[in-house]
Symmetry: C2
Subunit: 348 residues, 2 copies
């Protein structure tokens, strides 16, 4: 660069990030016109061409913060789930991400550790307006949740529950029905000492799957025996293994239903250690149909609760509501589907 060159005003170039002003100046139009072109609003072809070219030339990209501040939309939605490491939620993430992306939204991810306080904080944080909406998976919707949901600063769709006093769009599984069907399946195969390894019973899934288990026994004409129920302290593999271990120490079930697939994988490991053949000695059934359930040995019979579909629906409900705020509240249930594999003793 020589001293003979004209120095550009700082706004025009330099290492600066180009703004809409840069573009407008270069195209010789007002920022308003530039904005219109950039937002696809009908304009005179020549203006359109000049602005487009100018934007291209300087590599213009709109500033997200400025756009949000003015338009009151961020183009982001958030997904808050109990645990990123759980395949069920990972499935949901994929599903939501796909839809969000297709419709031009960014996805923000948040793992709550299933901590109610954290969930509530997330709801309150919506006031910051860093997202235009939230999909929340909660294992237990308390009264406090209902209150925060009622005053949430942005649309929220809940996956879980549903609470009758909640006012938000909700997507839920029929896990009671799912558990019942699993028991009917086992009963139909002639199993009569059917145990149940549950997760924490104060959670919605824990409570309703337990009910489904009991429903199933009744339908099959089997006596209820609470010593066949064992509770793990989390819906994970290792707690499942330990719970199954405790169960096997005192009982000889000929079948076990686990409240989810991770628990079932843990149980499988305990059964193996105890020298029980699956499905010869013990038929095993899980719930959720995570990808893993297909590759265990033996492959796991499970109840598909439609996680991918629930998540997709939740995302649709959310984006719809963001676009059209005064829709009626919608509550959608997704039907369970029994997926029979070798672990329940049916040759496949």
């Amino acid at each position: 660069m020589t001293s003979q060159e004209t120095y550009p005003t700082p706004d025009e170039t330099a290492g600066q990030v180009p703004t809409i002003t840069t573009v407008a100046r270069l195209a010789n139009v007002s920022v308003a016109s530039a904005s219109r072109v950039l937002n696809g609003i009908r304009t005179n072809p020549s203006t359109l061409a000049r602005v487009t070219e100018a934007a291209e030339a300087v590599g213009y990209v709109p500033n997200a913060a400025a756009r949000s501040l003015r338009s009151r939309r961020t183009g982001q939605i958030a997904f808050a789930m109990p645990d990123v490491a759980n395949p069920v939620y990972t499935t949901m993430v994929s599903s939501i991400q796909e839809l969000a992306r297709a419709r031009g939204w960014r996805l923000l991810l948040h793992s709550t550790g299933a901590d109610p306080e954290d969930e509530l904080a997330m709801l309150r944080d919506l006031k910051h307006r860093f997202v235009d909406g939230l999909i929340l998976v909660s294992l237990h919707l308390s009264e406090a949740h209902a209150e925060e949901l009622a005053r949430a600063a942005a649309p929220v769709v809940v996956i879980g529950g549903p609470r009758s006093d909640a006012i938000t769009d909700t997507v839920h599984a029929y896990s009671r029905k799912g558990a019942r069907e699993a028991i009917l399946h086992l009963g139909g195969l002639g199993r009569s000492r059917i145990a149940f390894v549950n997760g924490p019973q104060h959670t919605t899934p824990g409570a309703s799957r337990r009910r489904g288990y009991l429903d199933g026994l009744r339908f099959c004409g089997l006596a209820r025996d609470d010593s066949l129920i064992e509770v793990a302290d989390d819906f994970m593999i290792e707690p499942g293994r330990r719970a199954a271990e405790r169960l096997l120490e005192r009982e000889r079930p000929d079948a076990i239903l686990c409240a989810n697939d991770l628990l079932a994988i843990g149980a499988l490991s305990a059964l193996r250690a105890a020298g029980r053949d699956v499905p010869g000695d013990v038929a095993l059934v899980g719930m959720d149909n995570i990808p893993l359930s297909e590759v265990t040995w033996p492959p796991l019979t499970t109840v598909d609760l439609g996680s991918a579909e629930r998540a997709r629906i939740a995302a649709e409900l959310l984006l719809d509501r963001i676009e059209t705020p005064d829709l009626e509240r919608r509550v959608v249930g997704v039907e369970p589907r029994l997926v029979v594999r070798a672990s329940s003793g049916v040759p496949v």
Copy 2:
């Protein structure tokens, strides 16, 4: 509400979201003072008290967009990975999320599908300034990547590579060394027909693990035999199963190293289907040490490449650089660690 009541100006209350102006007015100070208090800048105790109280009273929460626009910081970082559904990346997400949260940052998630174009788009999108930094996991850093990285609008830390011509902070595994150690382990156990199930070989992990495999054979004094190498078209379970199937159709290896644990889980399933005992007939070793590798049957011997640690370090590097932009470039490697379990024939 009766007509005798004084109507508040719209700015003061109503269903409106309170802004800093609302707070300032209520506390009887200027917005500047309110801002100072709210940002923890030293102020006169009485001002501080009044503003704090006012903010509390109206439930004030700062608007993220306005704050970003003015301060040029978003308080968000992004993590872009090839696939949310892969446990390796899930582990990384947990790790990053933990650190980000502790240091007061939000985490944005993006799944690229290992598509280079998508990765490049993500880098370009940094110009939108919707995040203050990015952690990018890439399976293959091309020339184009190096270029985009050089002109990225925000700090980026790469997990992968490393490319010598890249200028960004980088965290990488020593996967070549890891693969070599796995082979030394198998060789030391007396296995001599050691096969290798690799993922796509044009990727960095694919290429370097292959080199490590060959290194290992050489160290053990075993002849190289390319028909013992089989390539899966993705680092996933099902491709692993199919690749192992092809391998077993033509060869009788007494050990198999898989380029990651998912491939190994697939291979395990193929071995079972082929009636080969693990580890009796075939010793099996994976790489990554994902949580799942502990609960397969038999539990999987694997090379821990430190995904959680790499992710944590990447997050630290990123946040450091955001806070202190003119640090020197840092490249950090994380040592591999062999985790011996039953699948390689060592009693545990």
